[in-house]
Amino acid sequence: MSDTHVAVIGGGPGGYAAAFYAADLGMRVTLVDREANPGGVCLFRGCIPSKALLHVAKVIGEAEHAPAWGITFGKPEIDLDKLRAFKDGVVSRLTGGLGQLARQRKISHIQGEAAFDGNRKLKVTMTGGKTSTVEFTHAVIATGSRPASVPSLSIDSARVLDSTSALDLPDIPGSLLVVGGGYIGLELGSVYAALGSRVTVVEMTSGLLPGADRDLVALLARRLEKTLHKILLDARVTEMREEKKGVKVTIEGKQLADSDRTQVFDRVLVSVGRKPNSAVPGLDTTKVKVGERGFIEVDPARRTGDPNIYAIGDVVGEPMLAHKASHEARVAVEAIAGQKVAFEPQAIPAVVYTDPEVAWCGLTETEATAQGRHVEIAKFPWAALGRAHAIDRPDGLTKLVIDPGTERILGVGIVGAGAGELIAEGVLAVEMAALAADLKLSIHPHPTLSETLMESAEVFFGHATHVYRPRRK
């Protein structure tokens, strides 16, 4: 292995996982990334800082609700600098830790921009201007993605934010328009709403979180209708202009009130998806192919058109999720090590970290319907669960998507407090080809929210302890 030299381009959760694993298998590894430490978008500008802020938002939300329990706190005083410092502290602690792990593994970390020079060589323009050459036997492209922009809405204004600048917390705007009702817009919109902004969300399709099952989204929407100022569906922003007092926004949509059509917002957050960073310089000197939607084309082992170059993570396709990238990293490295492997998950969990959280994995009811596949759905409402009431959060639902023939669990969907933590059990069930009976017969701790998985399996058999349903037939 010592003559294997793996060059990893990009230090996000895909890239650093690949670099670390390759080093652990005894390969020589060079990691090229713009930042001084590994971490990528996920740690610096994505998953981690947003979760730090969402945690704070949750505390504010609970304090607001506390009078119902006989505890009344004063109005929160928000020290934005301190909050930002907390978030930045989380980021630097974690990325610093990754830097240390890279050094312990003797990974050569070059800070700079990589360009391919054929399929054996990288030219790296280091931060500071110097260049260096890295010769490799195998390369892993893990360049990730960036926020997508809408050309017509791309105005040069500091008031217009993308997910990156929104996480910097420039201020707490009085009013904020979120363009795009996907998970990024809803998460960041929730943060700003908790901090005190009047948040309006504009979504082009007929519902929030396009693609997710409607019954799950409904419970989230019900709460967001209270915490957000307004949710405008079937609507699109057609024009934005910076004015002295804010950004004047024109919104089109059939069901809009006239007052909604033209408004001035203090800030606008554009969160309309992400685009793959596949324009790696010098890629045309290799046989790597980029497909129509800008994703690098790979085979099941994550090998590109150039057999010694691999690509993983957001740059190879949806879903653009950190945990998908790190899993692909292990597949690619094992393939480099000569093992017969493939990226073949049965369930990639998706989590929306709003309040309540929405999480799902495997086959969704929406997909089953689209495929014309007959499935049975078993739902357990959290209103029937002790723990959900004890934490005063009965607004949840756990559902199983089940194959009627084999009674195998094909997918799991959850909405409710902490759904993101609960979904892992669903992933295991789907990956292990568990049957509804397996879930039913596994003892779940009482009183926990995890019981909803067991109880929903019992619902499938028509005899959940906490749901009464008249006998069928």
Binding site: M1, D299, P300, G338, Q339, K340, V341, A342, E344, P345, Q346, L363, D403, T406, E407, R408, E431, M432, A433, L435, A437, D438
Partner: protein, 431 residues
Amino acid sequence: MSVEFTLPELGENIEKGDVVRVLVSAGDLVKKDQPVLELETDKATIEVPSSLEGTVREVKVKPGDKVKVGQAVLLLDNGSGAAAEKPAPPRSAAVVDIAKARPGRESVADARSADVAVEPPAAPERDDTEPAGNGASVAAAPSVRRFARELGVNIARVSGTGPGGRIGQDDVKAHVKARMKAPGSAPGGPPAPVLPDFSKWGAIERRPMTNIRRKTAEHLSAAWQAPHVTQHDRADVTGLEAFRASNGTRVEKAGAKLTITAILIRVAAVAIERFPQFASSPDMADESIIYKQYVHIGVAVDTPAGLLVPVIRDANKKTITAIAVELAALSEKARDRKLSLDEMAGGVFTITNLGGIGGTSFTPIVNQPEVAILGVSRGATEPVWRDGQFVPRQLLPLSLSYDHRVIDGADAARFLRFVAEALEQPMTMVL
């Protein structure tokens, strides 16, 4: 560092073998999966691939030696730390002894309980076949999927014995063993041809096979192994067509059309009672022939999803009307993909009628483990020389393919003549 390569597990009940040839010698560089030994076992002669990489320091066996599973075969240098890895499966394609590699008794028994839609003895499969995409519906844990991949097994082809059809490691091992014994992978059996790059000559589109298509392909490849002959004949159905026209409404009242296929099922049932070898199956391992005492007849149904063969049970005990009604119901179920496996199992004979589409004759493939299949083409009015003049008669072309191992040509000619005469003169059936 040096490591020992020991004889891996080779298949069911194979614990030892005689070394025929050693394919490497000291100093050779051995790669993973490279054949290193030719071994004769009581079932087959097989090539044993190395599960390790490295330079051969010492060969510990020589031709003529008896080696047991687990016994050291080679000492390798720089074995890449793979000592703990699972051994690669013996390469089934390299088996060189035809006679001994024939399916054993169990696999014939398996085949008997199987049918078109149930996995038949596996067809040849290239070891490097990239397991098909459709992973999302495979009921197997990630570790099992990886295990299958390491062995070069397409997990989608493994049938699971766990709850809900879940596939375990043992199922994958059983699949490999069955594949080694299957006639398709037997020596001389043609390996799957390597396809040219068709896109060189124009645009192509690659679509995954549906389950039905794959099983049909595998099943018919296996069925093709039996020595087939096809006998052609024509039945004068002028009278029968008149009968059909005058009695059609009676049957329609019962809920179905009086079709030629329904009549043929009944006639074939009588023919089978007369010629029991047409409902038999040879058991070569036991050197016996199994005669089935029941007359369940399968009918090939063309559905949008592919070919399905529902079975009419006890066709010898039913009226043509009952058969017509049952056939209509089963055909509809087949088209709606609602047939259960039970409804497709247990046939002793198959009828396939392409007359509705056209054609003058064809050579159907016997639906193993059955031994005969009756093909029907389009009937036509033709001039027939009779009593010194041409008279117009309606003639129905029939094609009977049969397994020559258990049915002789004269029997087949007699069987088909019996069917034709029964259609011409139904009273012959009860003569």
